[in-house]
């Protein structure tokens, strides 16, 4: 696994710090009917876009709990994308209307708490908007790359936590599990 952090930090043209070699990790929570299909269309259309985004499919944006976003940050995401059907096009009629209010409150609160709003991107992307999905992804990745790794969230980790993957093997007894399948 390549290093996600660099020893050098360069200034970008706009004065924003650029971490050379830093590739941000983004998680995207998208609705099945519109954005997921739109992302699929972007893929089948062979549109070029940043590959930093891991997509998690949900039936509807109305299912998205702000806790999903918080959990993504806890687990190492540098940025998050939340995307679904345009208002009036929700497969379940009103899921995205409820989501819109929930996201607005969440967005404003996170900014109040001190999280840069460019780390969380909200969008409406329909099933036919493969190009828009490409643009949303590229812009989100560029924003987060400019902001750098979300070290501030990582710094909340307790001192006694197990280190991330890539760290040396912990000392300790290896106990065989009953599990037949491999972890990775």
């Amino acid at each position: 696994m390549s290093s996600r952090r660099s020893d050098t930090i360069e200034q970008g043209a706009a004065g924003a710090p650029l971490c050379a070699g830093f590739e941000p990790r983004l998680t995207a929570f998208v609705c099945n009917w519109c954005t997921y299909t739109g992302a699929d269309l972007a893929g089948t259309s062979r549109l070029h876009m940043a590959s930093n985004v891991r997509i998690i499919r949900l039936p509807c944006t109305g299912r998205i709990d702000p806790l999903f976003v918080i959990k993504a940050f806890e687990r190492g995401a540098d940025g998050v994308i939340v995307s679904g059907c345009h208002p009036a096009d929700c497969h379940y009629t009103s899921g995205n209307y409820h989501a819109r209010r929930r996201f607005a409150v969440f967005h404003d609160l996170m900014e109040f708490v001190g999280v840069d709003p460019r780390r969380i991107t909200f969008s409406w992307v329909s099933a036919s908007e493969g190009a828009k999905w490409r643009d949303v992804v590229n812009e989100a990745v560029a924003n987060v790359r400019a902001l750098g790794p979300f070290d501030a969230y990582r710094a909340l980790a307790p001192e006694d936590e197990a280190p991330e993957d890539g760290a040396p093997e912990p000392a300790g007894e290896a106990v065989p599990t009953g599990a037949a399948r491999s972890a990775s």
């Binding site: 980790a157 307790p158 197990a162 093997e169 912990p170 300790g172 106990v175 599990t177 972890a183 990775s184």
Partner: protein, 389 residues
């Protein structure tokens, strides 16, 4: 071994703290902390209630000797957090293929010193030692206890909610501690009460000789004894109970309306248990922190929480606040004494001060004491004691 008390001035006491810090020893002591601090003055103003006390006293790891607060106010939280932290790793796991590696946590700790501890907080540690070594020796608790030397500072009694003398402690007791500082004219008298305490005095003999002979004319021993007796009297004036008859009454009056209806105003918020020096219940959680890796932690829990006794079946034997609060009184003043010979309370009064719903342990204990001492139960609606037992 009998060593006469050592006189030291405040500056020598601070120099002693500086010696410890200079040697790399962790020192825990009461420290004045600015309430609701912030890096920014205006954001700080955002959180300060104008006119409210700008500082609070808390036990903290001492950064420098000047920070040691000797004002004898009561720290917000007790010493418990340094022996049973609010959250503590028990082990870490990492799954690799079909094996799981479990990494144990260290159970030995670097020596540390607590300076100017409240006697009620140290006494609480001795009380909790019993359950921590009952059917299982808790290595983390014991490891921290073994590594720590505790020097109490005799207490003047904070206010009307202190009742240490009613529950087997006192403002000058050394239960659970290793030495005691008593304020006298011009400084303090320091005396050790355990092997660890004497070893501490010996290790710092040079520093502690600094003020020999500077004590002044009046015999300091008498002054110290008077100060401590006066404090004990103040505490006793707040509450006096016959702990044995209280215990017996609680044990035989489980359904008594006096006990059963104690908690009608209690919110089950658990603030009392978090500030209590003797409450020690914890939950164990496995927190997955990544794919196939995580940490098993224990964290403070409270018997006042609705799900504290929720069974996997869905049954909850204590599913209303009255039964949960009764349990608190029962555990502290009947069950624990019956099992371990001491009340699970040292009378610090924090629970009463922090309860904004008005639950008042002094009032509750006084009420139980009154009915406990009556020859027969006269509480309306309760069964007659003779008939019940």
């Amino acid at each position: 071994m009998s060593i006469p008390p050592i006189f030291l001035t405040e500056s020598t006491l601070r120099a002693l703290a500086a010696d410890l810090l200079g040697a790399g020893t962790q020192v825990i002591a009461p420290v004045a902390v600015e309430v609701r601090t912030s890096p920014s003055a205006s954001a700080s103003a955002a959180c300060r209630h104008p006119g409210a006390a700008p500082v609070e006293i808390e036990y903290r790891v001492l950064g420098d000797a000047a920070g040691l607060d000797l004002g004898r106010r009561l720290p917000v939280l007790s010493l418990k957090q340094f022996f049973l932290p609010a959250h503590e790793a028990l082990c870490r796991w990492r799954q690799r293929g079909t094996t799981v590696q479990v990494e144990a946590v260290p159970t030995e700790f670097a020596p540390q010193v607590v300076l100017a501890a409240k006697p009620c907080d140290s006494a609480a540690l001795a009380v909790v030692d019993k359950v921590m070594n009952w059917d299982y020796a808790d290595e983390l608790w014991n490891g921290r206890r073994a590594a720590t030397t505790i020097i109490n500072l005799a207490c003047p009694v904070i206010d009307e909610s202190c009742f240490c003398t009613a529950v087997g402690a006192s403002p000058d007791c050394t239960k659970g501690a290793d030495a005691l500082l008593t304020p006298v004219a011009g400084g303090y008298l320091l005396e050790a009460t355990t092997e660890k305490g004497w070893a501490f005095l010996a290790a710092h003999a040079e520093r502690l000789k600094s003020d020999a002979g500077k004590g002044g004319e009046e015999p300091l021993g008498h002054q110290a004894a008077d100060e401590r007796a006066a404090a004990r009297a103040r505490a006793a004036a707040n509450l006096e109970i016959d702990a044995a008859s209280v215990r017996a009454w609680i044990d035989s009056h489980f359904e008594d309306p006096l006990l059963a209806a104690l908690a009608v105003r209690c919110n089950g918020c658990g603030a009392c248990t978090s500030v209590c020096p003797t409450c020690h219940c914890f939950d164990i959680v496995d927190e997955e922190e990544g794919v196939g890796r995580g940490t098993r932690r224990r964290c403070w829990d409270t018997c006042q929480a609705p799900t504290f006794t929720l069974h996997a079946s869905g049954h909850n034997p204590r599913d209303d606040q009255n039964s949960r609060y009764r349990q608190r009184i029962n555990h502290k003043f009947a069950i624990y004494p019956l099992k371990f010979g001491e009340v699970l309370c040292t009378g610090c009064g924090r629970c009463t001060r922090v309860c904004h719903a008005g639950q008042d342990l002094v009032e509750i204990l006084a009420a139980i004491d009154v009915v406990a001492r009556r020859p027969s139960t006269t509480t309306p609606g309760a069964p007659d004691t003779e008939a019940a037992s």
